[in-house]
């Protein structure tokens, strides 16, 4: 294997695959990235055995071949290379020489044959979606997924495809985010898949603002193919909770409010709230929302936002982080908040259609 590559291309590629590499493993080869040189490109491949990522970089290949090297070390080297272009040559099976200007490295690797193979992938169905659309939907929901490993299914994000509609849902049992879009799909498909949050977070980084992504499915895996990059992920098996059940059908009251001003008010009041156990109280009355955060040890913060409201007065207490999350993820100017009483879920809505259900904090 021998190739010449632009330094910036190499950095970009290694940066992308870096999050796939796990920090602690008993299988040292997983610290490595597999480099394969073919025709006029090289391919980087990394895996943690449940999520794998492959990305291609343009390169001038003199001799094809492949081997694997410590991904972090290679990344650190690439970032410090003194010139724009570097030559990479495999001396024997697992020793490479990197030459760049006056500097050169001899890098020990592990032979490509030892690298875990890409699991066989027999597509059962596949479809295309706009990258920008998928990215937007994922960004609006993924933060609500759980990182609690005891309820594995909630660590994933549900992608539900029905006819020409795609629905993405994430929940940690305390709040739930849902977004729905019409898409052009070749034929009537009805698929539910739960994708690990790690995969989604990678996907968000890789998805671009143009072009399409090809999603292919097998029994328990999904692959996301983009122009120079493919992510293959195991799916989380199990039954996703019935999300429709927890979305309140009808709430008593509704307030429309400017998203930025509500977010700003929450951000300012939450500063006062106890760091470990944050809470803000929303006092809703005629044409006004008052937001109060208090902390015995520090003091109190108070904000008033004028709104158009003529319903019943009531107070609700929330974890401010849970309330700010969707406001940060949305981009519309106005949002609506629907609610019934201080113990029932509140619903944040936006006309995407986007729904966010949040349970309040109960006092005493």
């Amino acid at each position: 294997m021998k190739f010449t590559i632009q330094r910036d291309e190499l950095i970009k590629g290694l940066q992308l695959i870096q999050p796939i590499i796990i920090s602690h493993t008993t299988l040292p080869i997983l610290y490595n990235v597999l480099i394969t040189a073919e025709k006029d490109k090289i391919t980087l491949f990394a895996t943690d055995l449940s999520v794998s990522m492959k990305c291609s970089l343009p390169a001038k290949v003199n001799k094809t071949g492949s081997s694997s090297f410590n991904a972090k070390m290679l990344f650190n080297i690439a970032r410090e290379l003194p010139q724009d272009s570097a030559e990479f040559e495999l001396e024997d099976k697992n020793r490479a020489i990197i030459q760049c200007g006056q500097s050169s490295y001899k890098l020990l690797g592990i032979s490509a044959e030892d690298f875990p193979a890409v699991p066989p992938f027999t597509t059962t169905s596949s479809f295309l979606i706009d990258q920008v659309l998928l990215k937007d939907m994922l960004q609006k929901t993924t933060y609500a997924a759980s990182d609690d490993e005891s309820r594995l299914i909630l660590n994933g994000v549900l992608m539900s495809i029905k006819g020409h509609k795609i629905i993405i849902v994430a929940t940690d049992g305390r709040r739930l985010a849902l977004v729905e879009k019409e898409v052009e799909l070749p034929d009537d498909q009805k698929i539910d898949l739960v994708i690990p949050a790690k995969t989604i977070n990678e996907l968000i980084k890789v998805l671009k603002d143009e072009g399409q992504v090809k999603i292919s499915l097998t029994q328990n895996m999904a692959s996301f193919e983009m122009e120079n990059c493919t992510i293959i992920s195991k799916l989380i098996e199990g039954v996703y909770p019935n999300y429709q059940q927890v979305i309140p059908g009808q709430c008593d009251e509704r307030i429309t409010i400017e998203r930025e001003s509500l977010l700003g008010a929450l951000r300012r009041t939450a500063i006062i709230s106890n760091e470990r156990n944050p809470s803000v109280k929303l006092n809703i009355s005629k044409n006004q929302i008052q937001i109060i955060a208090s902390n015995n040890d520090v003091g109190e913060a108070n904000e008033q936002i004028p709104v158009k409201y003529s319903g019943k007065s009531l107070s609700m207490t929330f974890n401010p982080n849970y309330l700010m999350d969707p406001l940060r993820a949305l981009s519309s100017d106005d949002i609506a908040i629907e609610f019934t009483d201080d113990l029932s879920p509140a619903v944040v809505k936006s006309n995407i259609p986007f729904i966010y259900v949040l349970m309040p904090l109960r006092i005493g």
Binding site: S150, T171, L176, N296, D297, R362
Partner: protein
Amino acid sequence: MKNKIQILPEHLYNKIAAGEVVNRPGSVVKELIENSIDSGATRICLIVKEAGKALIQVNDNGSGMTEEDAAIAFRRHSTSKIKTYDDLENILTLGFRGEALASIAAIAHVELKTRISDDDIGTLVRIEGNDVKEITKISSDKGTSVAIKNLFYNTPGRRNFLKSNQTEFRHIYETFVKLAVSNPGTEFEFYNNDDLLFNLPKRSLQLRIQDLFGDDFGKTLLNVENGNQIINVKGFISRPGFTKKSKQDQFLFLNGRFFTNKSLNFAVYSAYDDLIEKGNYPSFFLFIHIDPKKVDVNVHPSKLEVKFEDEGAVFGFLRKSVRDTLRSSDLTFDIGFGDSISFENEPQNLEHRGSHGESTAGLIKSETSDRAGFTGGNTSFTHGDSGFTEGFRQDNGGSRIHSIFEASNPLNDINIDESVSPAEQNSQSAIFEHTKKDETEKFNIWQFRNKYVMCETETGLMIIDQHAAHERILYEKAVQLLNSHAAFSQQLLIPLNIKLTKIDFHLAESLKEELQNLGFNFILRTDSTLELTGIPSDIKPGDEHKIFQELLDQYKEYEVKLNLEKRDNLAKSFACRSAVKAGDRLLKQEMVSLVDNLFAAQMPYVCPHGRPTVIRITTEELDKRFSRT
């Protein structure tokens, strides 16, 4: 067909029963001394040879027995202590089952000499394996003397099970200590292989403990006294800082009888809360008196276990009594240069009394050097090394501290109705006077090696560990803060189903309100499934199930208030991280503020990990040191 079932002959069932009551020399000692005490003796002498394998003799000056009584005393279920079933309900004597002498007689050679005060001449009874070999008139002192020889001579199996002389002697020694502690009004002598180990005069309880464990140990104790119409407790507990790594020297007595009860031991530990480090245990000598109708002591032949009608109430009472004592005491560590006998003397004393070359002298030495652990050298608080002897003041102070404690910890005392005890109403003691702000300014205060704050007080010099003291202040703040937010419960969008055992399910049902106060909301479903609908908002997702189960287990084991230990640990680590460190330079105002805040704390004397925050040297001690007195 020939009948197969027969009534066992008496000598055989006595042998069988002996296994229950008498399983080692130590239990013979227990039975005999208890009989002496029940007979009203004021002097008891115990003589032991070869760890009781050769001889156990107990002489007393009690009421003695007539010839007729002496002759039947060794029959099973013969007892002078109860006559009717009603008596059994009201047992105040130590023995009552009428099994002891019969059981002992079945497995040893027994010689009984006894005389009642009305007679001029006494009786001698000699028994071997339940057969009366001799009854004669002899001249003897008033009282009873029982000598047990060749224990287990006719039950070789049992004899082979005996441990080494050292171990068996230790059991005798422990038995003796328990009985001597519980009867300070009785004189005791204890001879081992002709060496006088103890000669204990009639004493107060505290002095009896000092006689047994050493003067210095006696001075590390705090007096506990509390009671009402139904139950009362008296006795002594260790000061925090004089706790030990083992659970040794923990004595609970019920109506004068030693007993063991894990749950009540825990009641005492838990009263120390954060005053002791994890893994350390206090010593205690606590005498509980309770209406005999409320307990059943007849659970086990050796009467080591008792059954309470309402163990939860006893638990709460004991815990509160100990806690009140700790809160109302001045726990400052005084450094004294006192001339009290240092503890090293005790083993020497013992050796001195005994004859040389006997294994027991060494044995006693090891016994007592174990004890030295809590009286100086080996404690976590080691001033022994520097040649100082620690002395402690016993003044009752800190009512202000106490009232803060009561007020700010409403959550701590959900279960037990803890009314304010008289001890809490004591006036403020001298040590706290200086803590008023304007007064602190009057005293000199300076920093030593950027590590200790030295502060002049009215009575002497206070040395404060700046890190430990600050830690204590921050810890209390943090606990208060965390608990003030405790009421928030994050409601769940998707309820969590928890499958419980039947017992836990009912427990959860009965504790519903308390669990709700901690932030758990739930609905009880049928089939032992519980649906969590709300959880404390500060617990990590994924921990809910575990923490809920832990709370139930905690309650099952100890029946104590529910407490999120996690919050306490959080407060501790917060305090430790945020406190000023050794090496930080403090300005005068900072030092004054540290001292003020420390003595405004609920428990200023120890840091949250149980180490001392303050040491005091009184002016008198310094004067003494410089021979000014």
